[in-house]
Every structure is written in structure tokens, then in C-alpha cells.
Symmetry: C2
Subunit: 211 residues, 2 copies
Amino acid sequence: MIKLFENISEKEMLQLKRILRASTFQYPKNINILSNVNRDDFIALIEKGTVELIYTDYEGNKTVIEELTAGEVFGTLTSSIRSEGITCITKEETLITFIEYDQITNDEIIKNDFYIIFVKNLIKILTEQLSTRNIRIELLTKRTTRDKLLAYFKYMDQKTGDGSKTFKLPLTHTELANYLSVDRSAMTRELKYLKEEGFIEQIGKKIILHY
Amino acid sequence: MIKLFENISEKEMLQLKRILRASTFQYPKNINILSNVNRDDFIALIEKGTVELIYTDYEGNKTVIEELTAGEVFGTLTSSIRSEGITCITKEETLITFIEYDQITNDEIIKNDFYIIFVKNLIKILTEQLSTRNIRIELLTKRTTRDKLLAYFKYMDQKTGDGSKTFKLPLTHTELANYLSVDRSAMTRELKYLKEEGFIEQIGKKIILHY
DNA sequence: TGTAAAGTGTTGCAAATGCAACACTTATTT
DNA sequence: AAATAAGTGTTGCATTTGCAACACTTTACA
């Protein structure tokens, strides 16, 4: 199910795609899908497979910015795909549909009965992305690793929670350290302190908060 | 001129506002405008005046997250207005129009001739905000104050620049330190080192890059 | 215009952090 | 099943950073 076409039937989706002049491509594993990207702004829908946005700095160090899977959407206006050092790599065989931004308001589409649902979906996707960005900024502006971790845990608890103060870490430590932009080993050290001081308990991937 | 109604005449704007069930309020200076905010998601248009989004932490320290002026737009889905510790204060006499998100796709509005322009404007606003968030995240993930400053300067040069490697700082040092989430005095120190090592020159608010 | 408020530059010091290196465990791949 | 890659926990050490305090300048405003 593709977020952008939620509540739109298969048949209507195909029609909308045609009107939007969408084009679909299939990529093997480990392909840089935007190597020959043109100038126009676009949205990319991942129909099947996985794509990673990777940042490579001037020394060659690589960081995974985002992992995107089937149903998800990305594009020039929602991610900094055009920035220097950013590449977009398929992790497996992947099917992607591209829609040019200008087509989103073309003359034909606005007459379509499902346009209003399509627009609603698009706006929802954009505002959801804004929300995830705002949350990350809130975490990144914390000055210490401890504050970042505590704020992240609190957020995870609220998000997944039934008020149980218990949740499962959805990221590896390496990924979490990247997400919070701290050194992995320093983060592990801080986690140890938090456990020793009784702020949290950790059983495997499960975290229990005591604050 | 309100971004959300760009390319829409005064007359049509009033009509759209009526269909969208928009309501306008006038606030004196230093008022917390969202003290009695309801549950529904909304967009707020600043018609006149200035509003600041302020974060107050558990110790009472305040940080200005965003300053918004006439023509700009904010809302529950684009800013973390609902988060704990966030307040929204008028800096002067301010006129604000509220539109509920659900109204953006109401039955009447989608028949309006100017709806398509309105939607285009809304999508443009959302993607612009996403872009500013992405840039800030890119800066905040730099590990050192030096890297944050160099990346910020590079960005400012690209943005305002004619390739002259010269631009005017649009923020006070205090504001820039908050934006980059570093200690102000430590930032001043780092700026001094950057000047001493010849990476930058600074004449008043003007910055000249040598890298 | 005079006073209060906000911003700036500087510095010593303690604390937090990144870095590097290593051994070890867990996944993934062939 | 063996081999390779990715992730984890730990530690010493150098560096960076935040913090606090202060004097001084600039801006805002009553």
C-alpha cells in the first residue's frame, strides 16, 4: 500500500498515475538511483524494496540518514537529496515510481474525482515528515548525550506507550547514536551511567523508564 | 501579502476564508496566543505583527525557537506547538487568522476556482518548511562547533551568494548560538580561532570566507 | 534623554565528549 | 558450516565544550 494513494483503489491509482505522467523503474541491489537525476523536483514512491539515503563526508565517512521501505515516499522537496555528498542506494531489488512535482497540479488531474483524496494524502505525508523533523531537531538541540537519551526515551514512551514506561528500542545502538549525533561508545558509556543511577533498566532491546 | 493566498486577489481571498470558516483575532503585545488552544489541528496566518515560539525547559530557561512575522504561517502540524514547554507569544500587536486543517478539504472549498492555487501555495509552504528543517538538521548533526559554523557559513554563502564568498550575518551571535545549539561564549571563542587561523574574516556583520 | 535590557568578548576551570584501539558477540552471506 | 561483516562494551586520554563570572557596548523604550 502506497501512502500517497491511500483510500484510492488500484484501478483509480493507475488512472491517476497515468494522468500524473508517472514513470516506474526497477533497480537491482546496490544501485545509486539518482545518479542521473534531472533538474525538476519530483516525488518518488517506493513500490517494493528498500532505499537508503546516505551522506558521505569529505573524508569518506558514511552515515545513513534515512532508510525508506515499500509504501514510503521521498523527494527533492522533502529530503536534501540534491545536497553535496548525498546518495540514494537500493538495498535490494527495488521498484520506484517517479512523479514530477509540477504534474501534481496539472490541468487534467484537478478534474479527477480522486484528486481531493490524493491531495489530502500528500498534505498528510508532508506534515508527518515535518513532524518527524521537528522531533529530531528537538532532540538534537539538547546539549548533552544524557539529555538527548532521556528526551528520546520519553518521546518513544509517549509514542508507543500505554503509559507503561516500557518500550522496545527500534534501532541498534549504532543507529541511535547516529540519529542523536553522538559518538557510539560515549553513548554506551552514558547508558551505563543511566542504568547505574537507576534512571532506566534495559533488558535486551526493552527499556524501562524510572523517571 | 499572505503566503497561503499568494496569486489570489483580495476579494477571492475573503471568499476562500469564508468557505474555510477562518476566524481572525487581534492580540495585544506579550500575549500567549495558544493558552486556550483546542484539540483540532490548525494553520495560523499572521496578518500583521510578530509571534515568537518559545521553549521553556524544566529549569525555566527560555529559548526562542522561531520568530514569525506578517505573511508567515505556522500550525500544529508544522511546528511542535503542542509539545510541553512550548508557548507562542506576541511581540507586538498582532492579527492572526486561524483555519482548521479539516476545513482545507471541505466539500464547498474544493469546488472553488481558486482552490488549486490555494493547494499549490499550501504545498509550497510545507515543502519550504521541510527544507529549512532539513538544513537545520544537517547543521545540528555536525559534531563540533567549528564544523557547525563552517557548514552554516557555507550554506549562507550559497543561499545569499553570487559566489562572492561574502555575506551578511542575519542573526545576532546569541541567536546563532541558539540556532546551532552551542554555548554562546564557546562559539565566540571558536569564531576567534577561525579568524586567527585565516578561515574567515569578519567586519561587523559581514563575513568573508577563505575556504 | 536617561535607564534598563540585551548582546558581546574574555577567561579559568570542570565536565562531557570524541577518538582510537581492542576483544568479543551477533548477523549476514556464500 | 565457515567466513565475513556489522554491532557491542570497555577504557585511557586529549580535546572540546559548557558554565560562570565579569566588564563593556549596543539597543530598546518609558
